[in-house]
């Protein structure tokens, strides 16, 4: 049993953080919500709509996007190509074959705009595999944003990003639109405290407790889980 009896609701515009020790089932939860894993029971509702029976791609079309904990990018495509791909798919023009990409001004401009907002414009023509790790993490977010989601699930956006590159990442997360509902998994407590309005703690596949960051920091059980309360909050 990797995730059990999880009941979760995210109000619009929320900034929720999902924390918990490794193996607690956080990524599994995201896989269940996005449809990559079928649930044994229960429902996933997006707004008023029950999306439990829908495939992942269909859920994305309805506004549910995610990023991956391990970079899941297109190595030999450039960021601009990748973002344009995402925009074309969203706009439904991805099956047209008789006009070159250069003719799709709107799509390319939109993709470029997203890259600019994440400070990736300077490298937008280089193959993704040549980008430094921090910028690849940003591209992860850019691709998710290109689908114009209503709900965004970020799986450890700061994972592995070195200190000197994390500023850009924080700026990106801070800059996310207020209409967007965001749930992010994080281990880095700095990120959690800066951006989360509410924190959910998951342990052993179940939700242990939910509350504001200060409430969670003060919670005895949470302190025990994180190695005997040694952490800064």
């Amino acid at each position: 049993m990797v995730a059990k009896d999880v009941e979760l609701s995210l109000p619009p515009g929320a900034r929720y953080a999902l924390i918990g020790p490794n193996g607690a089932g956080k990524t599994t939860l995201i896989n269940l919500i996005t449809g990559m894993l079928p649930p044994d029971g229960g429902h996933v509702l997006l707004g008023e709509e029950d999306v439990t029976g829908l495939e992942p791609a269909q859920r994305v079309k309805r506004g549910l996007a995610r990023t991956f904990q391990m970079n899941t990018l297109f190595p030999r495509l450039s960021p601009l190509e990748a973002a344009t791909l995402a925009v074309c798919e969203r706009r439904g023009v991805a099956t047209t074959w008789w006009r070159g990409l250069g003719a799709y001004r709107g799509e390319v401009d939109e993709a470029y705009g997203i890259l600019c907002s994440l400070a990736l414009d300077a490298v937008c023509h280089r193959p993704t595999c040549e980008l430094p790790y921090g910028q690849q993490r940003l591209l992860e977010i850019a691709l998710a944003l290109a689908t114009r989601p209503r709900v965004l699930l970020l799986d450890e956006p700061a994972a592995g990003v070195p200190r000197d590159e994390s500023a850009g990442l924080f700026a990106a997360v801070a800059g996310l639109s207020q209409d967007l509902t965001v749930l992010f998994i994080e281990h880095d407590m700095n990120v959690v405290f800066r951006f989360a309005s509410r924190v959910i703690v998951m342990v052993g596949g179940q939700i242990l407790v939910e509350g504001t960051p200060s409430e969670i920091a003060a919670d005895r059980r949470v302190q025990e889980i994180y190695l005997g309360g040694g952490r800064r909050g």
Partner: protein, 358 residues
């Protein structure tokens, strides 16, 4: 905003890849040279053009969408038999025969695509191999239709456009094949630089990410597979029409394997790789045709091993690395041989080599 310049810049870079280059014009001009320089080898030239078209169709699948198919000859054969049977039945008009063959192969491809689009890795290899073997076996057994091991007899073609007869000299054959190849090439070239082409490359680079972008990958693959089947069928029809025979060899595993070798030799995912590979392979085979067939297979095997170990991006890839000036990568060399991926997988994303965490 960005320091890269005006908003016209990003499109400029993408559009520039689709522009025709001088080298391409030179290539097509050179393709006319057999008429003048090698008039006694026009039949061979025609074979090369046909094989190039076949390889091009596979490149769309393999080089651009990342689908490894060990049974692509099935569509070549379907096209060949369709055109042959039509001519045998009394309608020997070449162009309409081409259309019918393309449609037949396309239909077969579309049907098969429902199976192919749902599997990956070993299952994909096996399914494509299995389908190829199935079609070959069916053609073998149905000798009332196909002539079985003896091949199709009685294929008589009418003159092309009412004027150009198919004869032993091969002028018509080569002209016909070359024009069809060129037209097909134009179509594929357009496709590859379009949003659909970009989607296919996305599927190749990371099939997991595509659904996360809302992309209907399976639908894209089905379309690509059907288009590739149409082109392969047209190539098969060309063979049937220019040689006025059809045999089981158009369908067998050897043909599927050979076209794979040709594509890899020239370089997959590079359009011209299929053409270059066809030229090299068929010219070489013609030169060595006097030899014991065992020698041919031995050196073919050795060549394959060599290409994989040393020149993983084929001849064109090797040349590109030498030239070291590919606009798409901003002047940087392509990724190293060990990491090249036609079928991209999560563990092989280049970032994981620099991954600081696991």
């Amino acid at each position: 905003m960005g320091a890269a310049g005006t908003a016209a810049d990003p499109r400029h870079e993408l559009a520039s890849r689709a522009r025709w280059r001088g080298l391409e014009a030179a290539f097509w001009l050179a393709a006319l040279s057999p008429f003048l320089l090698f008039p006694s080898h026009l039949q061979l030239a025609s074979q090369i053009a046909i094989t190039a078209l076949f390889a091009l169709s596979l490149d769309l699948l393999l080089g651009y969408a990342g689908i490894v198919s060990l049974g692509h000859a099935a569509f070549f054969g379907v096209g060949a038999y369709a055109a042959g049977l039509l001519a045998k039945g009394g309608w020997g008009e070449p162009l309409s025969g081409l259309a019918v063959a393309g449609a037949a192969a396309g239909l077969a491809g579309y049907a098969a695509s429902f199976i192919v689009a749902r599997v990956r890795h070993l299952a994909l290899i096996m399914v494509t191999l299995g389908l190829g073997l199935l079609v070959h076996e069916a053609a073998n057994k149905a000798h009332w239709l196909t002539g079985g091991a003896d091949g199709l007899q009685g294929v008589r073609m009418w003159p092309l456009l009412g004027r150009f007869r198919f004869d032993l000299y091969g002028y018509t054959a080569y002209g016909y094949s070359l024009v069809v190849l060129a037209l097909a090439f134009l179509v594929v070239r357009r496709l590859v630089h379009s949003p659909f082409g970009l989607s296919l490359r996305g599927i190749r680079e990371n099939p997991v990410r595509m659904p996360a972008l809302g992309a209907p990958s399976r639908s894209h693959i089905r379309k690509a597979y059907a288009i590739a089947a149409v082109l392969a069928g047209i190539a098969g029809a060309l063979l049937a029409q220019t040689t006025e025979t059809v045999s089981l060899a158009t369908l067998d595993f050897q043909r599927s394997a050979e076209v794979l070798v040709i594509l890899i030799l020239g370089g997959a995912g590079r359009l011209y790789g299929s053409l270059v590979g066809a030229v090299i392979f068929l010219v070489a085979r013609d030169q060595f045709s006097g030899l014991n067939p065992q020698y041919w297979y031995f050196w073919l095997g050795a060549l394959l091993v060599l290409v994989v170990m040393v020149l993983p991006n084929g001849v064109l890839g090797g040349l590109a690395r030498l030239a070291d000036a590919r606009p798409s990568s901003g002047g940087r060399p392509a990724p190293s041989p060990g990491g090249r991926g036609i079928v991209g997988r999560l563990a092989r994303l280049a970032p994981s080599r620099r991954d600081r965490t696991s």
